[in-house]
Amino acid sequence: MIRVAVQAAAIDVGAELDRHDAGGHGASASFIGRVRGDGGLTELFLEHHPVLTQAGLRDLAQVAAERWQLAALTLIHRVGAMAPGDTIVLVLASSPHRSEALAACEFLIDRLKTEVMLWKRETFEDGRAAWVEARVGDAVRAERWS
């Protein structure tokens, strides 16, 4: 049971957890990424591709589902304008076995950073706005899985 979504609406973690858990699974690992207000950040804007972003998430989910024994997988990415504290990404992976759930969750969040068509722009309280540069560290983490 794979659920993938790209949405401008706030991510309701509790509701997603309930939906994901409906079947009941041995082990569930999750990752929640939130907007950080570091350095006076006031807005994070996330741009996406109307077709390819969703396709990229779906591809990633498929790769994880083939690689690990998963009972359920949820991958939700928010796009558009967000404020500090807002949930930007949610990964839920469930499996009869904890090591599979944990590994799939970590794989997905690492790959999300480097493979899905999403671009971040940060706006700060002094009015400065800049597109986030891709980080070498993210590519290195994502490479661990290949």
Partner: protein
């Protein structure tokens, strides 16, 4: 050849548009040539594509490397390295 090009993130901002349809000269047959052609076309293109190594592309929805042939492409997306997650 008529080609849909869409731009994202700072490429979009520098180009001043999210998408356009261009009539491509017959000798522009790969991505490298396309970026050079856009850079030479006007000031916006020069700004957006001054550093072609910073540009990523998808041809008809599939990620493509720098020298990829355009072939019968209908849609090309041009954008910076992704920064999601």
């Amino acid at each position: 050849m008529a080609l849909n090009i869409s731009y994202f993130a700072w490429v979009r901002e520098r180009m001043g548009t999210a998408e356009e349809v261009v009539d491509l000269p017959a000798d522009i047959t790969d991505l490298t040539a396309l970026l050079a052609w856009l850079a030479a076309r006007d000031a916006r293109g020069a700004l957006a594509f001054a550093e072609p190594h910073r540009i990523r592309a998808a041809i008809d929805g599939v990620m493509a490397g720098a020298g990829a042939p355009l072939g019968e492409a209908r849609e090309i997306a041009l954008f910076p390295p992704v920064t999601g997650g």
